[in-house]
Amino acid sequence: MRRVAIVGAGMTPFAEHFDLGIKDLLPMAVTEAIDAVDKGLDRTEINAAWFGELVSTDGFAAGILADQCGLVDIPVSHLENACATGNDTLRNAFFAVASGYVDVALVAGADKVRETSSQTTFWDWMAMTRDMAWDYPLGLVAPANFALHAQRYLHESGATREHMAMVAVKNHANAVPNPKAQMRFEVTMEQVLSAPMVVAPFGLYDCTPQSDGAAALIICGEEVVDRYTDKPVWIRGVGLGLDRVMHQHKADMTTFPATVKAAKAAYQMAGVDAADIQVAEVHDCFSTIEMISYEDLGFVPRFGAAKALEAGETTMTGRLPVNPSGGLKAKGHPPGATGVAQCFEIFSQLRGTAANQVASLPSLGLAHNVGGPTAVAAVTILGTAKP
C-alpha cells in the first residue's frame, strides 16, 4: 500500500440548522475542504468520493452528494456504520487511494438530525439500533444504552459524577473559541451536577446535543501530494472494531471492546502506541464515555480516568489534550459528520491552524468514535511525519 495524506479539510458549523438542508450543508463543507488545499485543487481532479451518513434525508445519499457537489462523473459510495461512520468513511476512502485505485478522493460526512421532530427522534433512533422484537419496545433510548455502561463503570471504578462533570466542564471550555461549535459557553461543576436528569447518571450537561452539520476531507496518494501542499497530514493508521450488539450480551460493560480492537489495529498500522499520541478527539457523546475511552485507547490504565481528570491530564495544557474542539459534547454530533470533523480538527491541530490550538503544536493525533449500540468503533491516527 502506498502512503496517503490529507491535503484539505473543511466543515460547516455544527448547529440546529433548521434553515439549511443536507443539500446545502454538504456542498458547503466540500467546497471549504477544496478551498483549504494550499496549492489549489479543481474538483474535476477528484477521482472518487465516499459519503458517510447515518440517516438519509431528502433521499438517496450518494446521489445527493454527487448531484449537489458537481461530482456526477465520478463514483460515489455511501457508507453507514453507526456513530463510527465518519472515521470508517475515511478508512474506506484511504484503502482506495492506498491501493492505487484512485489518486485523489473526497471523504464527506453529514447528518441532519434536526430534520424530524425531536419528539420522534427517540423512536426513529431505536428502530435503527434495536432488535425489533426484544429491545425496541422497552424504550432503551440512546442516552439509556450508554447509561447502562456508565452505571456499571461508576460502580466498579469508583469514579463519581464529579469526574463526569470535569469532562463536561473541560469540553465546554474548549468549545468557546471554536466558531464551528454548537455550544460555545462555559459551564461550572455546580451547573453540571445540578442540571436536570436525562437518564441517570447523565444530567443535561453530560449529554451531546442534537446537531446538524457536514464535514469533508481531500485525501491523496503520496505521488501527487506535492501538487497540493507542502504540509500534508499523513494517515498513519486506521482501525475498526466490532462487538456483540445487544447490551445483555456484553460480558463487561465497563469497557468497549470495539474501541480496544480498533485502537490496536490503528496503533499497529501506525507503528506507535498510546503514549505517542499528543492530541486526541475522543467520542464523548456522554461524559462517562470519554472516561471509558481514555482507558480503552490506552491513554490511562484501567479505571485510571478519574485520576487523570483530577490531575488535568487531558486539558489544553495537560500532557494529552482531549477534545480541543469541544468534542461531541460541546461542538455537536451530527453522526455521519462527527468522525470526519474530528479528522478536520486533528488536521488543523497538526498544522497549527486550529481554532483552539494546542500550544505545543502536536505532531501525532488520534480520532475515535464508538457507536451503534456500543458495538462498533473506529480509530484514525494522523501525523505530520511521513510514515
Partner: protein, 395 residues
C-alpha cells in the same frame, strides 16, 4: 358432582392501599391471570390440561390473548384455553363444575384489581358442590362492546333487588359463610358475624372468598353475586395447596406522559420471538449446551448452526446494571427504570423494565424475579415480555 381443589393461588398488584389494589400500567387480565395461574400450577400435584379464564376486563376482544395465556403459563400449545366473559357467579360455578386438570383463573383489572386461580383434581383438597343459582337481570352497570360504561347509579336498588332478591331466589337452607361480589358492608346481614372484606368485587372475588374460607378452615356455603345474579356452592375444607402474592401496598408513582407515539411493530419479528419472549426460554445448543437469549441460528459459543431448542430460563434475577430514564419519551410513562439482570446461574442476561418499584430505586446487586408483563402496546398489539421485580417490591 363434586369438584376438588388441588391448589389455590391469589394475586394482588403491588399498587394501591390496604383498602383497594390497582393494576400497574404494565398489568392486564392476561399478565395477572398468568401470575395467579403459574402459582396455582406450581403448587398443584397433577398436570393442567385445560385453562378457563373468567374476566370482564379483556385486554383485547380479538387477537391472541389465549395464546399469550398458554405461553405465559408455559403450558403446551395443545392445551385448550377458553376466555369467559363473566363475573363472580360465573367464576364460582366454573370452579365448582370443571373437570379435574382444569385451571380456572378469574381476574379483575379495572377498579379493585386482583386475580385468583384454582387447579381442580387431586385427592385431599377442599371440595365444591353446586347448590343453587339465580340468573336474573338488573343491569345497573352496563359496559358496551367498545368499553363505554353506562351507570344507572342506584346502589339502593342494587342492594334490594340485586343482592337481596338474588339471595331470596337462592333459597339457601343455611346462612352463607361468605358472599363475594359485593362490599363487606353489603354482605353484612347475609352472613354469620362480621364479614371480612375481599380484595375485589368482580370475577376473582369468588375465588378470593374460597381462599379466605379455606385459610380459616371454615366449611359452609359460599355465595357469589353480580348485579341481579347469584350462585351458591357448598365448600368442605381440605388440604388444598395455597399460595398468596400480597406485597405491602404502595401508591402508584406519579409519572408523566408527554405525547402519544406510534410504537411500530413487525409481526413477523413478533411471531419469531413469541415463544422465547413469553415463555422466557433461551435457545440451548445441542452441541455445547450454551444458552443464547434470544435463540439464534448460530451458537454464540461453538458456532453450531440450526441446532438449538428452546429451554426454560431461571426467573430469579440479580441486577448487573440499571438506569433511570427521566427524559420524557413520547408514548411511555416517565420516569422508568431499565435493568440488565443475570438470570439465576444460567449465565444469561436479560434487558428488562423494572416494575412494581418506584423509579430510581433499583441498584446494582439487587435481587428479585422476572415476571410476565405487558411491555408495550404497539400499533394496537399488546406486546408481552419479562420485567424485573425487586425482592423488596414483592414482600
Amino acid at each position: 358432582m363434586t369438584a376438588r381443589l388441588q391448589s389455590l393461588a391469589t394475586y394482588v398488584p403491588r399498587w394501591g392501599d390496604d383498602r383497594q389494589r390497582v393494576a400497574g400500567p404494565d398489568e392486564d387480565a392476561i399478565t395477572m391471570a398468568v401470575a395467579a395461574g403459574r402459582a396455582a400450577i406450581a403448587t398443584a400435584a397433577g398436570p393442567v390440561d385445560r385453562v378457563v379464564l373468567v374476566t370482564r376486563d379483556l385486554p383485547t376482544l380479538e387477537g391472541s390473548a389465549e395464546a399469550v395465556l398458554i405461553a405465559g403459563l408455559d403450558l403446551g400449545t395443545d392445551v385448550l384455553a377458553t376466555i369467559v366473559v363473566g363475573g363472580a357467579p360465573t367464576a364460582l360455578d366454573l370452579a365448582a363444575s370443571s373437570e379435574p386438570g382444569t385451571l380456572v383463573v378469574a381476574v379483575d383489572v379495572t377498579g379493585a384489581a386482583g386475580a385468583a386461580a384454582v387447579v381442580l383434581g387431586g385427592v385431599d383438597g377442599a371440595t365444591l358442590e353446586p347448590l343453587s343459582r339465580a340468573e336474573r337481570s338488573l343491569p345497573v352497570l352496563v359496559r358496551d362492546s367498545q368499553g363505554a360504561v353506562f351507570d344507572y347509579a342506584d346502589p339502593r336498588l342494587l342492594r334490594v333487588r340485586g343482592l337481596g332478591a338474588a339471595m331470596t331466589a337462592l333459597a339457601l337452607s343455611t346462612k352463607p359463610i361468605v358472599v363475594a361480589g359485593v362490599s363487606a358492608k353489603d354482605a353484612a346481614g347475609y352472613v354469620e358475624g362480621k364479614p371480612s372484606p375481599l380484595p375485589t368485587t368482580g370475577a376473582s372475588s369468588a375465588l378470593f372468598a374460597l381462599a379466605a374460607a379455606i385459610d380459616a378452615e371454615t366449611p359452609g356455603t359460599v355465595v357469589a353475586t353480580e348485579q341481579g345474579t347469584a350462585s351458591a356452592v357448598s365448600l368442605t375444607t381440605g388440604h388444598t395447596a395455597r399460595s398468596t402474592h400480597c406485597p405491602v401496598p404502595r401508591s402508584l408513582p406519579r409519572r408523566r406522559s408527554v405525547a402519544d407515539a406510534e410504537v411500530k411493530i413487525s409481526l413477523p419479528a413478533y411471531e419469531r420471538a413469541f415463544d422465547g419472549k413469553v415463555r422466557l426460554a433461551a435457545g440451548k445448543c445441542s452441541e455445547c449446551g450454551n444458552l443464547d437469549l434470544p435463540q439464534r441460528y448460530r451458537c454464540s459459543q461453538c458456532g453450531a448452526e440450526a441446532s438449538s431448542a428452546l429451554a426454560p430460563l431461571p426467573r430469579d434475577a440479580t441486577v448487573y446494571t440499571a438506569v433511570s430514564v427521566h427524559v420524557p419519551v413520547p408514548g411511555l410513562l416517565t420516569p422508568y427504570d431499565l435493568a440488565i439482570v443475570d438470570l439465576g446461574d444460567s449465565g444469561v442476561r436479560l434487558l428488562a423494565p423494572v416494575t412494581d418499584a418506584d423509579p430510581g430505586s433499583t441498584a446494582i446487586g439487587d435481587c428479585g424475579n422476572v415476571v410476565l408483563r405487558r411491555i408495550a402496546v404497539r400499533a394496537g398489539v399488546p406486546d408481552y415480555g419479562y420485567a424485573f421485580v425487586p425482592e423488596e417490591a414483592a414482600r
